[in-house]
Subunit: 198 residues, 2 copies
Amino acid sequence: MGKGEDTRLAVLDQAIEVARRVGLRGLTIGSLAEQTHLSKSGLFGHFKSKEILQIEVLGRARTQFEDAVALPALRTSRGEPRVRELFSRWLAWESRPGGCPFVAAATEFDDQEGAVRTRLVRDERDMRDMVTTVFRTGVAEGHFRRDADPDQFAQDFNGVLLAYHHAIRLLGDETAETRANRAFESLLAAARAETSAS
Amino acid sequence: MGKGEDTRLAVLDQAIEVARRVGLRGLTIGSLAEQTHLSKSGLFGHFKSKEILQIEVLGRARTQFEDAVALPALRTSRGEPRVRELFSRWLAWESRPGGCPFVAAATEFDDQEGAVRTRLVRDERDMRDMVTTVFRTGVAEGHFRRDADPDQFAQDFNGVLLAYHHAIRLLGDETAETRANRAFESLLAAARAETSAS
């Protein structure tokens, strides 16, 4: 990795910090220069526009997510162990200082057509597809019912994480983690049950 | 209701629209003046500061939520019918154009100490208490198990709504509503079951 690339990554890490305080929507080359004391013209040399900066911040966050959550889960045994690893790592990711940048960006950009929203939707679809794919390994391994619905599981899985993020970050509810784990166990139990309640 | 109060409410409704586009955090007396073509000095006369404006927007959104969701639910029969009414009205609230202002504000202000966050936390606690209280009427009426945990139900209920909000608003997933309803039925089924799976 060259020195230019090192600098770029260091700047992006600072940009993630700035986005935590002002939102991804509030992250501009001007606000980044102000908060980091880097020169605005130097930052323009790296990023050209606010949209490019915002998209690169999402890209950096995605790499961090893959390193911390997705890749370690994919190295775990297929089936229920992998689903468990994915959940516990994702839960830890949501409770990092600053919370999940994707959760914040989702409500900031859900009404804003443009390149950032397009990128965010792609990332969110990829994350959802990862959950359904990992869940399907549990069906293939015989850990979950053959008629269990992976898309239902993915939406419910997301709900457990979002409710946890909300309770811990806004309300400071320290008991939220226990409840998130209980909710996850209920989802697994429903997926394992031999007969569907339908 | 006097003419001054009418004007104030009309301005707040426009402020809610502006907050949808720029975020509650981006809503200032300056940005509101710009977007509504009202005079900045006139708006200052109404709101005095950005924080007061943001807090009044939350107050207006809360009144709308109470009229559309909470009060009609509380007029429904105690127990499961009331829980169902609360859920179906809340789901409709989440899918209004612009989405739920509280969901967006939660991630905008979860890291920002101050009067707006304090107000938001109070509102969110009140909403959560309403869910547990309504759930408890179901226990009292014998519709739900006596050992069902109202706080667990409230967090799970919130998760179903947040996952729906995320799927419909960001991903435009039209099948999300069916899944949200299925997830809610699973929560009710777990609450009704005679014996706890624990």
